[in-house]
Amino acid sequence: MTKVAELPDLNRPGNGLLVPLFRFQSLFGLVLVFIAAVVFSPTRRGELVFLDSGNLFNVVRSMSEIGILAVGMTLVVLIGGIDLSVGSVLGLASVGVAVLLTGPGFGLVPAVLLVLAIGLGFGLLQGFAITSFGIQAFIVTLAGMQIARGLARIWSGGQGVSITYGGGPGQAPVVFSLLGERTFNGLVPIPALIFAVVAVLAVVLLRVSAFSRHVYAVGGNEKAARLSGVPVKRVKIIVFGLCGLLAALAGIVHAGQLNFGGPNDGAMYELDAIAAVVIGGTSLMGGRGSVVGTVAGALLVGVLRNILALRNVDANVQLLVIGLVIVLAASLQRMRPASVS
């Protein structure tokens, strides 16, 4: 029997302590940041402001849109790509749903479906450009970012579109205003529920489906995947389509929360989504990572921003802190031994 080739320390069973640290790096990080937030939380009338359930649900609500974007971004990053257009597609979708609902003749369901279809189509087109013309994802989605932004501005006529509710002309169905509401005792925000559903579906998809194995394979070694019979082009196009679809969903949620379709909204959100993905432990090289990690990463960023805001830390220092966390997470990723996947 051949002996396994020489390996560095961390792969030996004896060093099992470090292995879980890497595997769950973002969850550990989340717990750490959560504890730090509790420790540093300001108090008001003897109670910790941070732990106020209204505040905690605010945190989840504030990260819901980014979270939905980040789930889509995880898929794209897993195949070794990137999607810079998600923020602009969010803006386009928020404008779209606002215009359609306040315009003549569109009911809630057709409007939502149409906007989701636009997001899906946009993503599929980007995927097509990337696979068929061989242009890098970075460049195609950079162009997509501008195109979507332009479309958003054109569709809205350059102005934001306000949404009012009721049965009259120019008013959206009252049902849509639910997106701004909270259920279960007035605590759980609807957007957070939507985020949770999207995340759970994605986790399940990525664990049981044949498609997910294809996705990981394309990210792990595209050439080997193709030779193994994986339909690489098709997988890539679908992944970008899904990312666009989720960006549109986030845009619809966005419009519902603000009662407003803003053509300039969502600017730079793609960077927050990428930050959540990186902090969650997904490698930008592709082939390694998980949605669970991304969700934890998004929540981590949310908790961090919240505690810094509650302590009235200067906005610029906040940016600094988040940037440092990203670098820390990325270096942990690099130090990770190859056996942890």
Binding site: V31, D52, G160, S162, L187, L258, D265, L299, A309, N312
Partner: protein, 330 residues
Amino acid sequence: MRNSRALAVAGACLLLAACGTTSENSGTPGAQGAPSSCGPDGQYTIGMSQANVAEPYRQRMDDDIRAAAAAVPQFTVNFADAAQDNSKQVEQVDNFLTQQIDLLIISPNEATPLTAPVKRAYDKGIPVLVLDRKVDGEAYTSFIGADNVDIGRQAGEYYKNVLLPEGGKIGELRGLAGSTPAKERHDGFVQGIAGSDIEIVAAQDGDWLRDKGQQQADAILKANPDIQAIYSHNDPMGEGARIAAADAGRGDLPITGIDGLPIESGGLKAVEQGRLSATFIYPTGGAEAIDTAERILIDCGQVPKTQTLPTKLITQANAAETYAELNNGS
């Protein structure tokens, strides 16, 4: 399975969240917009939610508030900046509510998205002062700002009577679409030039920013080399337009702005040094806001729904003396 461990940890965190304390409404809630407690003996925390500190006008607004609050020992003011992002500003207002501030001052990025959070604060009994830009509806305590329509109209009349009495073609640099001042300064201006031969042949959005203003002015001048003046909705965009005009070889093109901030890089200096032909003072309302807050929180008094601040035309004739006056004043 290793991932179920992960899910368990995540579930634990959520559970912890659900078990968090609920102290939303401790203390007796006041009536809408009226504070639950007031008087000279209390300590009060004020939250100031700003739309975009990158604009010099807004930085000055924050500075004015800071300076005025320093003179009131009972006030602590916390500042937040949304950097032109609606969602971020909503989040910041919600954070202020979590911190249970006693009064909210807000200059919203855009009207509709910030209407709901402002209403939330108002319905909780927290007095809300809206500065410079409006929200929809009536769920606020007091609006403090200059009358942008009036300023626009005065600007239009200045063009009609003084700058281009013979009429002519002009360009317009607009503020961020969706913010009320932009709309109002435009509408007022159009009223002001009515009946003259002045025509706005080109209009672009400069988003209140100097660099954007320069880019758009570049484009306007290239497309319409024969325009005779540029009406800019604020001073920074006007300064940007001046650079563009110089580049296009029209260094002495008349350009007017609005704001007139009494700072080194502000409109008053620009008019004094000739970079802008004229500007209109647009007071920040910062000092007035603290004043109003004092009346509500310390004097337990009532305040009017709308407080309109005055404006003034500034030309080279009175630029220097107005600058000195505003810097030596309160």
